[in-house]
Amino acid sequence: MTDDVEVPVAETAYQRAQRSDDFQDLRRRFRRFVFPMTAIFLVWYAVYVLLADYAHDFMSQRVSGNITVGLLFGLGQFVSTFAITMIYARWANRRFDPEAERLRDVIEGETR
């Protein structure tokens, strides 16, 4: 907000919705899931990239035959990406959508 003295404007329906406990709860729920998850996969990706870039000896160790530690780390990125995708989709379908849809119906009723 700026310092200008403003004539108080009537609150819009969206602002009322935004202020409501239900919406604040939904927003908190979303951010509490999505932000830590983003941090986790970005850090895990950074670990992989830095190891591949600066820890050649470690990544070149053979685990069995020609399978190296580096290959397992690389495939681990695939596994974690698939896992996070499924965990998120499951969470969103079960825990997020029903509440978001309920709020949407309320809000669309008010803003119409």
């Binding site: 907000m1 919406f23 983003t38 070149s60 020609n66 580096g70 690389g74 990406t81």
Partner: protein, 551 residues
């Protein structure tokens, strides 16, 4: 192209594959997809139909189309080649390109679907000043699309030498022109709906083809990855062990290690800023379907990249890095050469037709994005200030399609012989620098304002392209062994490179994020709490989101 390389190509291309087989399989693909496009075009009435396919695609359909858009020629040919020649370091491309989808899934896809209509700029201009922000976002979109288009068209020209046995520069230009004209027809007639169906068909062909080749390669090595690697190591001869260890491409110096970091950053943050990917989220009826599309896309793309790991090492083992590098088309020819080694001219014909279909489909997807961005953002909202008849906007979009098609043909002819992977990596770096920071800020940061958006978009765009221009990629990179230039400018006397970093992402992406913050705090622009409230409520709940059109 010099006479010497032309002669080499003539010698090489005459003994691989059968151009008649390649051309007839490709012609069959074109015929089938044209019929599909014509059928799809019957329902194109409104702007929502033309730009967003009426928002009637299901999640799985759109997810397959996203995979079709994303698995471009550079992905398929480039990654196979990078793994075949550089081994483990080539694997980074697959991982970065895949992990990047989590950014789109968690932070962007659904919120974007809930708040926008057709383009990325719709979301940015939701609570910021319409005209300057739309202009900036549209320019960034056009830049990304342009580099991506050049890469695809250059790839088309280069492949022709190997696949169709056309080895003259004029013949390749003709093929680039044919690809361009076909693409114009698809997009002009079919709009987003037709383009989406082309992507779906192409994605299924590409993934099926790669699956067959992967099974074939694995069968040759007793379904043992370790034995496959051993095959690649043996074929490479002395020092072949390096293929399965990191550092072959980027391990030489501390500078090349920084290049690896920079590339890794651009790859993981680029995807969620690619305008042609973002636009696909508008082709589904709601945010839930947008989520389903990304889930489908992640599975298809991830599985495909696992195939490319096998195909890359398979090409190294069965064809050999030296033969791949010497072939016309260079590293990009690893996958076609592997197809030929496995299944002779029929499999080569199928894979090369799929590669062409890939280029055609991706170019169509890029073109409709650029046309939407120009017609919807620049023409309708900046020039006409939103006062334009609904069919007027689509008419401008169609004209734009023709103009972009012609530009792509001309650019593609000039870009022949350029490094395809470099152009795509540049497009990712521009997308990650100019687009992603503003998208994230405008969705999640209440204080963000117009000034911050402009600083971030233009700062990211200019720094990214500027850094490329003064990098060794454009001038001054000389192969110490041969004395030949490895840069875009082939004259070794021209050298204006100032920095040694080849991918600008490491500097330009953090810079664009910081500029967004600086620009925001430097402006005295009044905040619009009521618009932020509307945007936040809509983005999370889907209230008031654009609905699918009824037919």
């Amino acid at each position: 192209m010099s006479a010497a390389t032309g002669a080499v190509m003539a010698a090489e291309s005459s003994d691989i594959g059968n151009p008649a087989v390649n051309i007839s399989i490709f012609a069959a693909f074109v015929a089938v997809t044209l019929i599909v496009v014509l059928r799809a075009s019957r329902q194109n009435k409104s702007a929502a139909d033309y730009y967003a396919g009426g928002r009637n695609f299901t999640g799985p359909q759109n997810g397959t189309a996203i995979a079709g858009d994303y698995l471009s020629a550079a992905s398929f040919l480039g990654i196979c080649g990078a793994i075949a020649v550089n081994g483990y370091d080539g694997f980074l491309y697959s991982i970065g390109f895949l992990v990047a989808w989590l950014v789109a899934l968690l932070l962007v896809a659904e919120l974007l679907r809930n708040t926008g209509r057709f383009t990325m700029a719709d979301v940015l201009s939701f609570r910021l000043k319409q005209r300057p922000v739309r202009m900036a976002a549209a320019l960034a979109t056009l830049c990304v699309v342009f580099f991506y288009l050049l890469a695809q068209m250059a790839g088309a020209g280069g492949l022709v030498a190997l696949l169709l046995g056309i080895d003259t520069s004029g013949g390749q230009s003709l093929v680039v022109a044919v690809v361009g004209v076909l693409m114009i027809v698809y997009v002009l007639v079919g709009g987003m709906k037709g383009t989406t169906w082309v992507q779906i068909i192409k994605a299924m062909l590409l993934i099926a083809g790669a699956a067959v080749m992967t099974a074939w390669v694995l069968a040759k090595f007793g379904f043992s990855i370790s034995d496959l690697f051993q095959g690649a190591i043996d074929k490479a001869g002395e020092g072949g062990e390096a293929l399965i260890e990191p550092g072959l491409a980027y391990g030489a110096t501390s500078m090349s290690k920084l290049n690896f970091l920079s590339l890794a950053l651009a790859l993981v943050l680029g995807t969620a800023g690619l305008p042609h990917v973002l636009m696909r989220f508008y082709t589904v009826p709601n945010a839930k379907e947008a989520r389903r599309s990304v889930v489908w896309a992640i599975w298809l793309i991830g599985i495909f990249y696992l195939f490319t790991l096998v195909l890359g090492y398979g090409a190294a083992a069965l064809v050999g890095p030296d033969e791949i590098k010497a072939a016309p088309g260079g590293v990009n020819s690893a996958a076609p050469l592997l197809a030929y080694a496995l299944g002779g001219e029929i499999l080569l014909g199928f894979i090369s037709a799929v590669a062409f279909a890939t280029i055609l489909a991706v170019v169509a997807g890029l073109t409709i994005t650029a046309a939407a961005s120009f017609a919807h953002d620049i023409y309708a909202n900046v020039i006409k200030k939103g006062e334009v008849a609904p069919d007027g906007e689509v008419r401008v979009a169609r004209i734009t399609v023709v103009v972009i098609g012609i530009l792509a043909i001309v650019g593609g002819i000039f870009a022949q012989g350029q490094n395809v992977a470099f152009l795509v990596a540049l497009a990712f770096a521009v997308a990650a620098s100019a687009n992603l920071p503003t998208i994230l800020y405008s969705l999640f940061w209440k204080r963000f304002n117009t000034s911050g958006a402009l600083w971030s978009i233009y700062g990211g765009l200019v720094s990214c392209i500027g850094l490329i221009a003064v990098s060794p990629v454009v001038s001054g990179k000389v192969d110490p062994a041969t004395g030949e230039s490895l840069s875009m400018i082939k004259n070794v006397d021209v050298d204006f490179h100032l920095i040694s970093l080849e991918n600008p992402g490491l500097i330009s992406i953090p810079l664009a994020f910081v500029l967004g913050i600086v620009g925001t705090y430097l402006s005295k622009e009044k905040a619009h709490p009521e618009l932020f409230a509307e945007m936040e409520v809509r983005s999370l709940t889907g209230a008031g989101a654009e609905k699918a059109t009824e037919h």
